[in-house]
């Protein structure tokens, strides 16, 4: 497993950890039931504070992506296809939102944007 963190990002460290683990879980690189490092072990290996890791894990737990069992450790939760789809949809919404903002800022019309999506979806520009 690779987790890259940088002190020089605008993104707080707990968010960096959270989004990388989330990506691995949603893309199924980490499967349901796979163990993930204990909070303390991860803090030690990343050379950061326990509480930072704890925050990331608490958020992932809250979002139903991991489960922590006292005395056993933390594991990837079993996500059904619906949940995975929802997660992906959320990410795509965020990306589209950015595309819309940039389009508006540079005066590109909604119709042009919609056309672009059609072309890209059909794979014609790739």
């Amino acid at each position: 497993m690779d987790i890259i963190i940088t002190m020089r990002s605008d993104k707080p460290i707990y968010e960096q950890i959270e989004s990388q683990l989330k990506e691995m879980i949603v893309s199924q690189k980490l499967k349901a039931g796979d163990p993930i490092p204990s909070m303390r072990a991860l803090a030690k290996d990343l050379h950061i504070s326990l509480i930072t890791v704890k925050k990331a894990y608490e958020n992932l737990s809250r979002d139903g992506l991991i489960e922590t069992i006292v005395g056993k450790g933390s594991f990837v939760a079993s996500l059904n296809t619906e949940q995975l789809k929802e997660e992906k949809q959320r990410e795509i919404e965020a990306l589209l939102s950015k595309a819309c903002q940039e389009a508006k800022a540079t005066g590109i019309r909604k119709d042009t944007l919609k056309e672009l999506i059609d072309i890209l979806y059909e794979g014609e520009l790739l």
Binding site: P12, I13, Y14, R40, A41, A43, K44, H47, I48, S49, L50, I51, T52, K55
Partner: protein, 272 residues
Amino acid sequence: MTSALQVHHLTKKYPTFTLQDLSFDLPQGTIIGLIGENGAGKSTLIRCLLQMSKPDQGEIEPPIKDFNQLSYIPDSCVFPEILTIEQLEQDFASIYKHWESAKFWDMVKRFKLPHKQKLKTFSKGMKVKLAFCVAFSHHAKLLILDEATSGLDPLIRDEILDLLLEFIQKEDHTVLFSTHITSDLEKVADYILYIHEGKKMFMDTKDDLMEKYVIMHCTQDEYQKLPSSKIVRVIKQPYQMDVLVEKKEAEYTFDTPTLEDLMRMYSKGEKR
């Protein structure tokens, strides 16, 4: 969260200095950084925790009576320097209730410390590493460091931060780390307790402190327009006003503060 220690209204008076009404919890299983200027009261506080000084008022719960559970690493070497590690180890075996000889020698080997050389020939870094070998080998649950890493090079300090993270792998192990080297705390501390002129200025998680505030740099005019409720602290500089505000109030030019910046704003800054 469970507390390793709770301090209630601790007061200690000296002729020129008073530690006033300190109350805080040390959450178990974490690293708590203790910061403050020289003379702020950090060492006085630690002496009270170690029962080396008796407070005039207040309580420490539970009182640290069993030194088997405690490891204290101060600025200077506490071991008799005419002894060798081999000789010291025999003393420890008889002093401590649960002395883990194998673990001790393992760590000594890991740090490549010589067994038969007198401690007075050791560098400061070697002496501190020895102190850690001892700390890990007698079932200590609370580790108190008082400027233990000052004067050490950045590489050794980094190794020591690793050791602290290793120490808290067990959930009932806690570290109180008093240091001027705030950059070390920015890396691994869970909580920061800031003492200034004998009083507790704040105790918060390091992440919240680093994310909650910004230092705004603005002109005199811009500063005058700020409502007082937004201003946590302000310092007047020759060409700008430095204003500590919550992140959500940030405007103009601003920087994320380091722990050092926060200390500077709190100790030298004023409320409007």
